[in-house]
């Protein structure tokens, strides 16, 4: 061959590979806030393990974090039965696990049986456990399977977003994955290195295999100051969940790296202890169980100030358990309780309270005082309580602040019930409110203000029980929404939870990353990581 032909051929080859080279990129680097507790995707319950599952797990369907709609992944198509007990899925063909093991309906059956094993005690599995009985899997063909549950499972297809499929045959067990990346190296307590899954089934529109990235390095770093410092130094490519004070710091130096995707699904709320057997004074129980008292406290708290001062404007007053970011389920007819200390005092006086030289007293003359507990280590919660302390002082209420370490706090709110009021946050991973059954049912353990009631102690809690059961047994989403809209209405009226703020979804992404499109639903940044590239 002549030199010119060789050069032309070389150039052609080079040009042919260029797009792939440009899209393949190299690695990105970010942090996990804690050590993953497990690599078994069925037992995931902590944020770090959830991140690993999202990056490595292949699922049948995926809730698109941007559009919030359910899309097929390893399932080409699926059909839900009218009674919401059965789902029949047609699977993609010619898919292999990361170690080359072929994927088929047998793996789906294996995963489901493992998931529903009662000895597993998996929160993911429990989400499917709508009634007693066995789950039956029927392999129709290597690419088709039906799964039948003993009772209706509302939002069955959406729940499959959390089920990463495991291989029935691979010797690598849970380390054989179907997702875009696979774990290559894990240094306990230090870092996790993932590399691209060479057998990942997804391709881009041009037919190139995904992901474009070669790998991901995840450092385990709990200190947010250090994480921010490393991001500023260029050692990290993203901070998935950025605190508002750090947002301001980064925005002033490099505005292009920070993203505010609007309201997230997360909220901060306070509740009073309404447990009858709680070891607190009876007069306090009487205060806390009074709807008027709770409503007055809610009106006396300046939510706008909480958003403006604690979250630097990157939050909005919360209305209820469902954030406006949850487009379908949010009740848009409701609005946040406005700050109105005069109205609060009026309400309190209607309940027999009165002001005495700047101190609010109940009808028996007792000064109104209570304590609020929250977990230590959360600067935003500590600041929120101090602001609320001053708000309530304006209406004569003395509030003490007690920050406790998390296990001590959990023991008080779930076992001893030795507290007056608590402030915590709600992190929603599931858009569907059916996942909150254990919060709203009066008999449930997570009915935080008064759990495990034998029968509903108030009429409104009885109504919520009925509404939640109704939405859990009705596959028609429009009717379900009507029921849950009413639940949100009741909660706003009765204030078992005083919803304070809905945080915005803040993140930071390095300018060298291409393809990132931060959204409000977790994972905020890397939800579409298989399409990312990195500018060298």
């Amino acid at each position: 061959m002549s030199r010119i032909r060789v050069s032309a051929l070389t150039l052609a080859l080079l040009l042919a590979t260029l797009p792939i080279t440009a899209q393949s990129g190299n690695e990105i680097h970010f942090c996990l806030r804690s050590e993953p507790k497990t690599f078994n995707p069925l037992k995931v319950d902590d944020d770090a393990s959830l991140a690993v599952r999202y990056l490595t797990g292949g699922v049948l369907v995926r809730v698109n974090r941007k559009s919030q709609t359910v899309e097929g992944e390893l399932a080409d198509s699926w059909k839900l039965s009218k009674d919401a007990r059965q789902i029949t899925l047609k699977l993609r063909r010619n898919v292999r696990f990361s170690d080359g093991t072929p994927f088929s309906a047998e793996d789906v059956a294996f995963t489901v049986q493992r998931l529903m094993d009662p000895e597993l005690h998996s929160p993911t599995g429990d989400a499917f456990r709508s009634g007693p009985g066995q789950v039956v899997t029927k392999i129709i063909s290597p690419a088709e399977i039906s799964i039948t549950f003993p009772a209706p499972v509302i939002g069955l297809d959406r729940l499959l977003d959390q089920v990463a499929l495991m291989s029935a045959h691979s010797p690598k067990k849970e380390m054989a994955v179907l997702g875009p990346f696979m774990v290559a190296d894990y240094k306990a307590g230090a870092s996790l290195h993932m590399v691209r899954n060479p057998n990942y089934w997804k391709h881009d529109a041009q037919g190139h295999s995904l992901p474009y990235l070669d790998g991901i390095v995840l450092d385990i770093q709990s200190n947010r100051d250090v994480e921010l410092l490393r991001f500023q130094r260029g050692e990290l490519d993203l901070i998935n969940s950025l605190d508002s004070e750090y947002y301001e710091k980064l925005a002033s130096a490099s505005p292009g790296v920070v993203h505010d995707a609007g309201p997230s699904l997360d909220s901060e709320q306070m509740w009073f202890n309404e447990v009858a057997k709680a070891p607190i004074a009876d007069y306090k129980k009487a205060w806390f169980r009074s709807t008027t008292f709770r409503m007055a406290i809610s009106e006396a708290i300046n939510r706008e100030d909480l958003c403006r001062i604690v979250f630097r404007g990157h939050a909005r007053p919360a209305i209820g358990a469902i954030s406006p970011a949850n487009r379908f389920w949010f009740n848009s007819k409701l609005s946040a309780t406005p700050y109105n200390p005069d109205a609060a005092l009026k309400l309190l006086s209607s309940a027999g309270f009165y002001m005495d030289h700047g101190v609010l007293r109940d009808a028996q003359g007792r000064a109104v005082e209570f304590s609020i507990i929250t977990n230590s280590g959360s600067r935003s919660r500590e600041r929120m309580i101090v602001l609320m302390q001053q708000d309530l002082q304006r209406i004569g209420i003395k509030v003490s602040v007690a920050t406790l370490d998390f296990p001590a706090l959990i023991e008080r709110i779930t076992q001893t019930f030795d507290y007056d009021a608590a402030l915590l946050g709600l992190t929603n991973t599931d858009l569907d409110p059916d996942g909150q059954m254990n919060v709203w049912l009066s008999s449930a353990e997570n009915h935080q203000w008064n759990p495990q009631q034998k029968t509903p102690e108030t009429a409104w809690e009885g109504e919520i029980d009925e509404l939640m059961h109704a939405q859990a047994s009705n596959p028609d989403n429009a009717k379900r929404k009507k029921s849950f809209d009413r639940v949100q209405e009741i909660v706003l009226q009765q204030n078992p939870f005083l919803y304070l703020i809905t945080k915005n979804a803040l993140s930071a992404v390095s300018t060298r990353v291409r393809g990132a499109d931060p959204v409000a639903v977790n994972p905020q940044t890397y939800w579409n990581i298989e399409f990312w590239t990195v500018q060298k």
Binding site: D225, V386, L387
Partner: protein, 269 residues
């Protein structure tokens, strides 16, 4: 040297007077939130700016001085006394007592006291008065902070045990308690002074760290420890130097303590 000691006295006096005069110097108080000027730089109204909740940092500094300056030295004194009693006495007595004290000391150094502190918090009512919480915190710090010094004191006292002057005093028939308190303890002064001086800032910081367990100074009361925790958030000296004033004040106070406590004679190699 005299000049330095006088400067130290002046520094301490200024700090003490400022904290005593807090209601006049900062009439708005330490809890007042200026919600429209939070995280503000120094101004005519707020000499050291405001913190993240709009509270005057100068007011919080001088009110915080009252708690830290009173209780931290008291806790330091307690830990020093315990170190003398456990380490110094054991080293002086020797034999079984020395071995027992050393063993107890090693045990104390190894145990996870975090859980004791968590239990103390659990036993306190959630609405315990700020004074109770603060006093208890410093008491616990004093009761647990003697271990390092006790070891060194034990070694020092052991060395003194076989010294000539002590043998003479013993031979002269002096009672053991007098021997210890009048002849041994004064010779342990270098270690005692170091222990006392080190403990003050350590306890001030520890009080702030104990807030993660619900102990320490409860909000909205200020303390030096809580003011120093502001420095944890990637604060730049160039951009926000006023945030370092509590640190400078603490260092000045601690240095003043040491200058006042240090030996009269400066002897160098």
């Amino acid at each position: 040297m005299k000049l330095l000691r006088n400067a130290a006295w002046v520094c301490l006096a200024v700090v003490v007077i400022a904290s005593a005069a807090a209601p006049w110097l900062a009439p708005a108080g330490y809890a007042m939130q200026s919600r429209d000027s939070f995280a503000a730089p120094p101004s005519h109204e707020h000499w050291l700016g405001t913190d993240d909740l709009g509270r005057d940092r100068f007011a919080r500094l001088i009110y915080g001085t009252r708690i830290s300056l009173l209780l931290a030295p008291a806790a330091a004194l307690l830990s020093t006394l315990l170190a003398v009693l456990v380490g110094g006495l054991a080293g002086y007595m020797g034999g079984f007592w020395e071995k027992a004290a050393v063993g107890i000391n090693d045990l104390f150094l190894s145990l996870p006291w975090l859980f004791l502190l968590i239990t103390v918090r659990a036993m306190l009512p959630l609405d315990a008065s700020p004074l109770t919480s603060v006093a208890l915190t410093f008491l616990v710090l004093g009761l647990l902070g003697w271990t390092s010094a006790a070891r060194v004191l034990c070694a020092s006292a052991k060395t003194l045990r076989s010294s000539d002057f002590l043998r003479q005093a013993r031979a002269a028939g002096l009672p053991a308690s007098r021997l210890f308190w009048v002849h041994v303890v004064p010779n342990l002064r270098p270690v005692l002074a170091a222990q006392f001086w080190i403990s003050i800032p350590v306890f001030i910081l520890s009080e702030a760290n104990l807030s993660i367990l619900g102990l320490g100074v409860p909000e909205p009361m200020p303390s030096w420890g809580s003011l120093l925790r502001e420095l944890e958030g990637l604060v730049s000296f160039r951009e926000e130097p006023w945030k370092f004033v509590p640190l400078i004040v603490l260092v000045a106070v601690v240095t003043s303590f040491q200058l006042i406590l240090s030996d009269r004679e400066q002897v160098v190699a």
